[in-house]
C-alpha cells in the first residue's frame, strides 16, 4: 500500500523506534522567540546541558516588541527580550533582534530565508508553526518543556498522528481568498475536528494557491485542532525557494528538487479521514463568535443559538453572542468596527499587504487601521513598491514588524468593548486585549471594512 505525504516525511525522521514507545523524531529546524524559551534555557543551565545543534536553531524577537520605533517601555517585556539576547549569545544561537533587517514574526522569517524547505521537520514554541507545512514538511507547535528537549537533543519523542485529507475541489471564485477558505474549513470541521491528526490540504484550489496563500491555510490548522497541516511541494514551492539565502544551489538544488518531487501522497495511500469541501461555492467568510469555528459567510447573519442542535455548541454560541455584544439575526455586514488590523503570521506577508493596498488605494479609512508587516524584509519590499504611501494616504498607520495586535501582549491592543476586524488567527475572548471583540477576516475584507467602518466585502465598495 502507498504512503501519505505525512507518513513519508515522518518515516524519514525516525531516529529510533521501539515497541511500546513513541518514535524518537529528528528535528531539522528549531525556531525560537522570547516568550516560550527563557524557562527552557534555564532548564539547560540547571542541568548543565548544551544546545546540541545551534546551527539548526534560529531566534527572533516578535511577540513582545512594540511596532513603533523606540525602546520597549514595559520593563517586564524588555527583560524578556533581553533574556533572549543573553541566552542566544551564551548558547551560540543566531538572533534577529528588533531593528535588524532580518527581524520579523518567527513564521514569516523561516520561509523568507529559505530555511523552511519541503520534507523537513520544524518545531517552535508557538502553535502557528503549522504555517511551515505549506512547503510539504511536518511543522508543529510545542511547549516549553519540549523546547528544552529539542535544544538539548535536537529530537522529540512523539507518536505519529493519524492522517486527514482535506480535499478542496473546484476553484476559489474571484475575490475569495485562502483566508476565507481556511475559515470555512474550520467552521465545517470545528475547533476539535483536527485533534490527533496531521492534515494534508489537497485538490485543485490548493494547487492554485500561491505560497503565501498556502501558508495562510496551513497556519490556521491548529484552529481546527490539528497540530500540523501540510501541502505537497510542487513547481510553485520550488519557484518560491529558488535563490533564497538558505535554499540549496547548484547540484545540491537539483538533488533536492528530485527528492522533493517524491514528497507526495501515493495514489493508493489511504488517509484515516477524508473531508471534502467545494471551493467554488465559497464567499468571503468572517467569524462572529469567540472561537475560530464560529464563522459564517459575510453575506449571512449572526446565527441564533437555537440553530445549534448540540447543547454544548448552543451554550457556547449564547455565551459568544453575549461576549461579542451581538444579536442573532443581525446581518454580519452591518456590524460596526472600531479597529482594523492587517498583519500577523496568518496574513502579514507581502501578498497580503498588496491585497489591502489595492483596496485602500485612493480611498480613506474611517477606523483606526494598523498595517503591520510580518517582517522587516516584508516592510522593505512593501516600501519599495510604494505600498506604505498608499496606506498613509488612506489614513492608516504603517508600523514596524512584529506580532502586534494578534495577541494582546505588546502595546497594540483593543480596549474593553472595542471591536476589530483582524487578519489574525484567533478571536478568543480577550485575545487582542481584555474585553476586546475580534472578527477574523481576510486582508481584503479588513481593508474594505476600514473604508466603511463596518464588516464589508470588497465587492460591496462603490
Amino acid at each position: 500500500m502507498g504512503r501519505t505525504l505525512a507518513e513519508k516525511v515522518w518515516e524519514q525522521h525516525v531516529v529510533r523506534r521501539a515497541d511500546g514507545e513513541p518514535d524518537l523524531l529528528y528535528i531539522d529546524l528549531h525556531l525560537i522567540h522570547e516568550v516560550t524559551s527563557p524557562q527552557a534555557f534555564d532548564g539547560l543551565r540547571m542541568a548543565g546541558r548544551k544546545v546540541r545543534r545551534p546551527d539548526l536553531t534560529i531566534a527572533t524577537e516578535d511577540h513582545n516588541v512594540p511596532t513603533v520605533l523606540g525602546p520597549i517601555s514595559d520593563p517586564v517585556s524588555r527583560t524578556q527580550v533581553e533574556t533572549l539576547r543573553k541566552n542566544a549569545a551564551e548558547f551560540g544561537i543566531r538572533l534577529h533582534p528588533m531593528g535588524d533587517a532580518g527581524q520579523g514574526v518567527v513564521h514569516i522569517i523561516g520561509p523568507q530565508f529559505g530555511l523552511t524547505q519541503p520534507g523537513m521537520t520544524i518545531v517552535c514554541g508557538d502553535s502557528h508553526t503549522s504555517t511551515h507545512g505549506a512547503f510539504g514538511g511536518i511543522a508543529f507547535g510545542i511547549g516549553t518543556s519540549e523546547v528544552e528537549h529539542v535544544l538539548a537533543t535536537q529530537t522529540l519523542p512523539a507518536y505519529r498522528p493519524k492522517t486527514m485529507a482535506i480535499e478542496v475541489k473546484g476553484e476559489l471564485p474571484v475575490g475569495v481568498t485562502a483566508k476565507d477558505l481556511i475559515l470555512a474549513i474550520i467552521a465545517k470541521i470545528g475547533t476539535g475536528g483536527g485533534q490527533g491528526y496531521i492534515v494534508e490540504y489537497r485538490g485543485e484550489a490548493i494547487r492554485k494557491l500561491s505560497m503565501e496563500g498556502r501558508m495562510t491555510v496551513c497556519n490556521m490548522s491548529i484552529e481546527a485542532g490539528a497540530r500540523a497541516g501540510m501541502i505537497a511541494p510542487d513547481e510553485t514551492t520550488f519557484a518560491y525557494l529558488k535563490g533564497r539565502p538558505h535554499a540549496p544551489s547548484g547540484d545540491a538544488w537539483d538533488a533536492a528538487v528530485e527528492y522533493w518531487k517524491s514528497l507526495r501522497t501515493d495514489d493508493d495511500a489511504v488517509f484515516d479521514k477524508v473531508v471534502e469541501i467545494d471551493a467554488s461555492t465559497l464567499t468571503p467568510f468572517v467569524t462572529w463568535g469567540t472561537n475560530p469555528g464560529q464563522g459564517a459567510p459575510l453575506g449571512s447573519a449572526v446565527p441564533s443559538p437555537e440553530e445549534f442542535a448540540d447543547p454544548i455548541e448552543r451554550s457556547a454560541a449564547e455565551r459568544a453572542l453575549e461576549y461579542m455584544g451581538l444579536t442573532a439575526g443581525t446581518p454580519l455586514n452591518e456590524i460596526p468596527v472600531d479597529t482594523v488590523f492587517v498583519g500577523s503570521c496568518t496574513n502579514g506577508r507581502l501578498e497580503d499587504l498588496r491585497a489591502a493596498a489595492d483596496i485602500l488605494r485612493g480611498r480613506k479609512v474611517v477606523t483606526r487601521t494598523l498595517i503591520v508587516p510580518g517582517s522587516m524584509q516584508v516592510k522593505k519590499a512593501a516600501e519599495e513598491e510604494g505600498l506604505d504611501q498608499v496606506f498613509k494616504d488612506a489614513g492608516a498607520e504603517w508600523r514596524e514588524a512584529g506580532c502586534s495586535m494578534c495577541l494582546g501582549m505588546n502595546p497594540d491592543t483593543l480596549k474593553p468593548g472595542e471591536r476589530s476586524a483582524s487578519t489574525s488567527n484567533r478571536n478568543f475572548e480577550g485575545r487582542q486585549g481584555k474585553g476586546g471583540r475580534t472578527h477574523l477576516v481576510s486582508p481584503q475584507v479588513a481593508a474594505a471594512t476600514a473604508v466603511t467602518g463596518k464588516l464589508t466585502a470588497p465587492a460591496a465598495l462603490a
Binding site: D126, H246, R426
Partner: protein, 195 residues
C-alpha cells in the same frame, strides 16, 4: 517532574467548552521569565466575575478540574499547565483536549484524563450537588472513581509509566545520543543550517 500514581481530591465543575489557553492564562502573564507565580494569572479575566466558579469559596482547595470538551485549545503556551498546577490542580478531566496542551501536561505531571462527555457531566453534577465530594483518579488502574461508581480511561503505556515514575524526558532521550549521532551522519546533504 513529580510522580503521579493516584490522586483523591475535590473537584471544580467548569461548565464551558473550548476553554482555550488564552483563557487559562492571558498573554499579558506570559512576559515573565521565571517558572513560578502563574497561579495569579489562572483564568484571570474570568476570575474578575464574582460568580465565576473559582471564586466560590466552596471549591477552594479543589485539585481536580472538570471541564467541557476541547479544553486547552489554541496557543502552545505551557504557562497554562504551570498556572493550573501552581493554583493547585493535579488533574483535568474533559471529553476532548487540545493536542499541544495535553502533551505539555504530561511533560509536567498534570494528568489530562479523557472521559466521555456524559461521564464528565455526571462528575460535574456530583461536584455541583456537593462541593465536598471527593473523586479519585487512579493512574495505576487507569480509573476514575466517585463513590461506588468507576470509569476507566485510556492513556498509552509509555506516558503512564513516565508519569508514574516522574521521569524527565530529556534524560531518557539522552540515553540514545548514539542513535541521534548515527542519524545525523545520514541526513540529506542539502538540508539548511542557520549559520
Amino acid at each position: 517532574m513529580d510522580a503521579f500514581t493516584t490522586h483523591t481530591g475535590r473537584a471544580v465543575p467548569l461548565r464551558r467548552s473550548n476553554v482555550d489557553t488564552d483563557q487559562i492564562i492571558p498573554a499579558v502573564w506570559l512576559k515573565q521569565v521565571s517558572r513560578t507565580g502563574f497561579e495569579k494569572g489562572l483564568f484571570s479575566a474570568w476570575r474578575e466575575d464574582p460568580s465565576f466558579i473559582l471564586n466560590n469559596p466552596a471549591y477552594q482547595g479543589a485539585s481536580i478540574l472538570l471541564s467541557g470538551p476541547d479544553f486547552g485549545t489554541g496557543s502552545s503556551r505551557e504557562h497554562a499547565v504551570w498556572a493550573l498546577q501552581q493554583y493547585g490542580f493535579r488533574v483535568v478531566i474533559a471529553a476532548r483536549f487540545g493536542d499541544i496542551f495535553r502533551n505539555n501536561s504530561t511533560k509536567m505531571g498534570l494528568l489530562p484524563v479523557i472521559l466521555p462527555a456524559e461521564v464528565v457531566e455526571r462528575l460535574q453534577a456530583a461536584a455541583e450537588a456537593d462541593p465536598t465530594v471527593e473523586i479519585t483518579v487512579d493512574l495505576a488502574e487507569r480509573e476514575v472513581r466517585l463513590g461506588s461508581e468507576s470509569w476507566s480511561f485510556e492513556i498509552d503505556d509509555y506516558t503512564r509509566w513516565r508519569l508514574m515514575e516522574g521521569l524527565d524526558d530529556i534524560g531518557l532521550t539522552l540515553r540514545h545520543a548514539d542513535d541521534v549521532a548515527v542519524y545525523e551522519n545520514g541526513r540529506q546533504p542539502w538540508l539548511p543550517t542557520t549559520v
